[in-house]
């Protein structure tokens, strides 16, 4: 499969991620430590390592089709283990923010059942809405 990456938008995307996360994803050497450490990776269509690769290549549309950042629990395991010192939890946040800032939600609070809301600890609701809704 050949993919043509328009240089300008790749750079723009890369810069946007850097601005939001403060992280230089070009440092990633694709070792896969993040994916191996991630407690959620089995439920990701694309592991954290692959997601970084897509971001490195500026393939933002393909990255947005993945669920990686929406399954990420911001646990920072990858961040403390990355041998290149990339705070990957911040990169995930940047990718989430790029969608959330367009007013798109990943979960719809109005669709939660009364039972679910009653049972959930308050921090689950506050944190979940903060991370998964705009």
């Amino acid at each position: 499969m050949s993919v043509i990456i328009p240089k300008k938008s790749a750079d723009e995307f890369f810069e946007k991620i850097k601005e939001l996360s403060g992280q230089d994803i070009k440092l990633c050497m694709q070792c896969g430590t993040c994916s191996a450490s991630c407690p959620m990776s089995e439920h990701m269509k694309c592991t954290p390592r692959k997601a970084i690769h897509l971001a490195q290549l500026g393939m933002d549309e393909m990255l947005h089709e993945q669920n990686t950042c929406w399954v990420c629990a911001s646990c920072h395991t990858c961040s403390v283990r990355c041998p290149r010192g990339i705070d990957l939890a911040r990169v995930m946040e940047a990718v989430r923010q790029l969608t959330l800032r367009k007013n798109e939600n990943f979960i719809e609070p109005s669709k939660m059942t009364a039972e679910e809301i009653k049972n959930c600890p308050q921090i689950a609701l506050v944190a979940g809405f903060r991370k998964l809704t705009s």
Partner: protein
Amino acid sequence: MKIKYYPGCTLKYKAKNLEDSAVASLEALGCEVEEIERWNCCGAVYSLAEDDLIHKVAPVRDLIRVKEQGGDKVVTICSMCYNTLARANLMMKEDEEKRDTINRFMDEEIDYAGEVEVLHLLTFLRDEIGWDKVKEKVKKPLTDLKVAPYYGCTLQRPEEVGIEPLGSFELMSGFLEAIGAIPVDFPGAAMCCGSYQVLGNAEAVQDAAGKIISTAQTAGAEALAASCPLCEYNLGKEQDVQIFYFTQLLAAALGLDAEVSRFELNTGNAGELLKRKNFL
């Protein structure tokens, strides 16, 4: 000893068992617990986007409350509150530009530059009370109870706010020893339970929680000690190992009335296990 205490929203409702057992235990250890006045929710998660300062206003406001009410330390119990407050504090201490923006934004408040020290209750117990004093006050040691000390994701990461260095679990193990229990070393101690993804990806949370519980069980734990209401919720759904708040174990060891621990709010039969072992 007087201490300033930040409860956070979950401890006032869903995790009343965490708050009540902690406050009663602290009082039994000779502390006068002063809840911060006019505190607000810390936001539960620390905002990771560089430009997102508005979500840091809430935790900073709490720290300002402590400072204006004359405190130089604040003790908090919920792991997520601890993480959020400690990181916001560090930012106010170290990032001059952000500090300045936030202080100017909150021009109705006093200026803040990270003067307050944010302490997790476990750190407070070790450093300000001391394990020897705790041991002295224990009336019903939890002899032979095998407990897995569980830190989850927010007590050690990121490293700059960790209550102890990555990979070391001496703090909670020391606590468990002080109350007579046997700390069980297990590989899931710092694994994440899936956290807020219980709202978005419940199945992934179930798998993550299941792994933690099965490593604790394999290591021989009968119970697991937690300090986070979200961990308790996610892990509690797995029935194989009983989840307690560490403060409930403390209250039991101090010989306090079982009512302060409000075991009915735990998932599973937390009180039953302690009763069966004659700790209640």
